[in-house]
Structures are given as C-alpha cells and as structure tokens.
Amino acid sequence: MIEKMRIGWIKIEELLTSWLLLLLVGLVFMEVVVRAFGSPTTWSVGLAQLVFIWVIFLGANQALRNHAHVGVDAINYFLKPKLRIVVEMVMHVLMILFLIFLIYYGSDMVLSTTGRLITGTQIPYWTVTLAIPTGSMLMLLTALGQIFGKWRSVKGNNE
C-alpha cells in the first residue's frame, strides 16, 4: 500500500516538474514573442522565477532519489568500506537534521509573511518561500527511506 503510494507520488512529481520546466520555457518564450509585437508583460519575469524555485525544490527530491547530488569523493580513497558506511550514515543523519531545520524555519517564514509581493506581480512572495519547506519535506521522506534501506542492507550483510 505504502509502496504503491510512493510509486504513484514519484510519477506525479516527475510529471509536475517536467511540466513546470516546460511552462518556464513557455513563459520566457512568450515574453519574447509578445514584446516583439510591442506589448510586453510586467509579470512574466516574476512568474518565471516563482516557477523556477518550484522546479528546483521539487526536482531536488528527484535528484536525491537518483543520488545525483555531487560530493567530493576524496574520502573513498582513504577509508575502509566498513568505516565508509558509518560515515555515510552520519552524513545522512546530518542531512536529515538540516532538512528539519529547513522545514521548521521555512514554514515559520511562510507563516510570518509580511505582505511582500513578487516583483511586477500581485502574487504574494510566500509562494516562493513555500517551495523550500515543501521540497525539504519530500527530501526528508526520501532520505529517511534511504537510511532505512541502508540500515536493513547492512544488517542483512552482517547476519
């Protein structure tokens, strides 16, 4: 059941980010076209930046799932495999704490909003900020899944 929901969500997320990216292209391209006809909009830049941050933070979860976030790999030349797993676990825990920080203060930031608007639009700026706790929440679930999976495989190897 949970697995089904997870797979379902991954599909939705991928569809969503793909369409948002396409929308981003469309928005900026549209601005080029309407300006060529002498009637530019004032809102396309602001809206594009709003779409952009959502692509980034929803996509960050996709990147985390696919292990696409790069690190400096120097450690792998120095550490024994067993120690490496311990280090990996510790890094995962730190990452989770960081994500919790982003969720907590991100929500705080969204809720304590000041009436600030996205430049050139009437859209409240908290819609930009909201991408951070939302994306972080998704990443938190992914990271928990990964750490759980790793824990099981380590235990499995030892038995």
């Binding site: 002498g38 530019p40 004032t42 396309s44 830049v45 000041t114 009436g115 600030r116 430049t119």
Partner: protein, 309 residues
C-alpha cells in the same frame, strides 16, 4: 553574534545596506549617519554599512527588518507600498508640484499617522527625505511629446505604481533587472528606461540611450528604515539621536544628489545625450488615470486636503 566582527563592542548594533555603490550619495549619507550616531552615542550604538547590495537586496532587507533582524536600508516609496498601500502616493505621477510641497506633506500629522501605523509591520521609518532626483524617460529614440512615447517598451523597477504610470503615459512597461537593461538597450530589446540622472550616469546607461525626455513624472524620494524591534530597544535619548541623524543623512543625500545630477547632466550632454523639455501637462493628463486604476483617489484627496489643494 557569538563571534562578532572586529571592534564590534557597541551595545546596539545595526547593519545598514544600500543598493548603490560606494561613491553614491545614498551610501555616503548612511556612512555619515554611522559616524555621527556612533560618536554621539559614545560608541554605544554601532552601525555597520554595506553598499552594492552586499548585505542583501532591498526587498530582502525590508523583510529582515520586519522579522526583527537588526538591519535597515534606504528604500523608495513604491517598495514600501507593498506593505502599506498609502506610501505609493509619494511615488505617484505628478502628485506634488515640487519638493517643498512634498516636504510640507512629510511634516503633516497624516504622514506621522502612517509612520506609526507602519510600525505594526515591524518597520520604523526614521526619515523620508532622501531626495534622489527627478524621474525622466531615457530612450534610444527622441521623445518630445506623448505621441513619440506611445508604444515604447520601457524597463521599470517592476513596482506596480511605476508600471501603471508608464502604461498610462502610453508606454509598455517591462519587468527586467537593472543589470539587464544595459544590454537590452544596446541590442534594442527595450526602447528605454525610466530613471533619474544619477542612476543613468553611474551605471553607464547613458552609453546606450540617446535621449532623455524631462517628464519629471515623479521625484524619487527614499526613506531610511530600520527594524522597529531594534529602534524600540534603544533608550529614548538614543532614539532621538538616531532620528535626528537620519534626517541629517537624508539632507546630505539630497544635496549630493542634486549636485551630481547637474554635473552628470553636463557630462551626458558632452557624451552626446540630448535632453528634451516636454509639455509636462500633456503627460500629467495621461497619467491621471493611474489614481483610478490603482485605487488611490481617496488617498490623494486626503493628501491634497493636507496640502490645502
């Protein structure tokens, strides 16, 4: 902070950031503010100053101040009007006959009322007297009347009131970062910008525009704002000092801007930019619709009542 910067031993630390560079009047003025406030408070108040958006950009700093961080900035009225609509009147087209009329308004009880109401947003306006210059239309093609201007694609700051003004005068406002305006003008993506002399000259924008129509559709006047929480934490005598010096800083900025505006106008003329006197009444009539579209009629009436108009 637990590991504060060098010499950071004042009781009350404030960080002030502006968008303009180090030579600009805005920065020079907040630097004067820093020195005066530090001296008069015997170092109890410490002010760190930042130029070129180094600390953060203006909307970020306003948000930080309202969230209670010990920061402040110099910002125009349009930016503040997102948080309190009344302020957009200060940047509305052809609202004030001249600077002295605006000063008359800034002395009024109505304005003081707005300032007090604004503290509910967490922001304290220390002074609203940074007169930075007349806003004109700087374009690649000559604009001598409204017909010339019709249909021109104009870069604006993106503020709603400014967009509405440019639209009403017949132009097509487009949102674009100031840094993109230079190549935009050079390549013809846009036909012009609405700006004041110092902004045009100091960012080299005069290299890519050929004409400036002196519409003076509004006077750019900015405010020195700080976090209300920080201001409130000061003893009363320090609050006095800060308010006085903020006013003095605004006066300095205004004088410097006036001087450099005239100097730059000469330099730009030498560089081949043509300045055009225009019939301001024509633009004023066109821009009048702004008050209706922006829903500012009532506020305008209130202000006019104060001014005895």
């Amino acid at each position: 902070g637990s590991e504060g910067a060098e010499g950071n031993d004042g009781e009350y630390t404030l960080r002030l950031g502006v968008t303009q560079n180090e030579q600009n009047a805005e920065y020079q003025a907040i630097y004067q503010f820093k020195e005066a406030v530090e001296e008069r408070s015997a170092g109890e108040i410490e002010v760190e100053t930042y130029h070129s958006d180094q600390l953060a950009n203006i909307p970020d700093l306003i948000e930080q101040a309202s969230l209670g961080a010990d920061v402040g900035t110099v910002t125009d009225a349009a930016q503040l009007s997102d948080l309190k609509k009344e302020f957009s009147i200060i940047q509305s087209p052809f609202m004030f006959e001249d600077i002295s009329e605006m000063e008359q308004f800034l002395e009024s009880d109505l304005y003081q009322e707005w300032v007090e109401e604004f503290t509910e947003q967490g922001i304290r306006i220390l002074s609203f007297n940074f007169q930075l210059g007349e806003r004109n239309l700087a374009t690649t093609h000559p604009v001598t009347n409204a017909a010339d201007f019709k249909g021109s694609v104009i870069r604006t700051s993106g503020a709603e009131i400014v967009n509405a003004t440019v639209s009403a005068m017949g132009g097509s406002p487009t949102g674009m970062p100031w840094t993109e305006a230079y190549p935009g003008l050079e390549q013809g993506v846009i036909d012009g910008v609405e700006a004041h002399n110092t902004a045009i000259y100091e960012s080299s924008m005069y290299e890519v525009i050929n004409h400036i129509a002196k519409t003076n559709h509004y006077q750019l006047v900015s405010a020195l704002i700080v976090s209300e929480e920080w201001f409130d934490s000061l003893p009363e005598e320090f609050q006095e000092i800060v308010l006085e010096e903020a006013k003095a800083a605004g006066e300095t900025a205004s004088e410097m801007s006036m001087e450099s505006s005239n100097e730059y106008e000469g330099l730009m003329k030498e560089a081949g930019v043509e300045f055009h006197e225009v019939d301001r009444e024509e633009f004023k009539e066109l821009a009048d619709s702004v008050y209706e579209t922006m829903g500012l009629q009532e506020i305008r009436d209130e202000v006019n009542a104060v001014l005895g108009k």
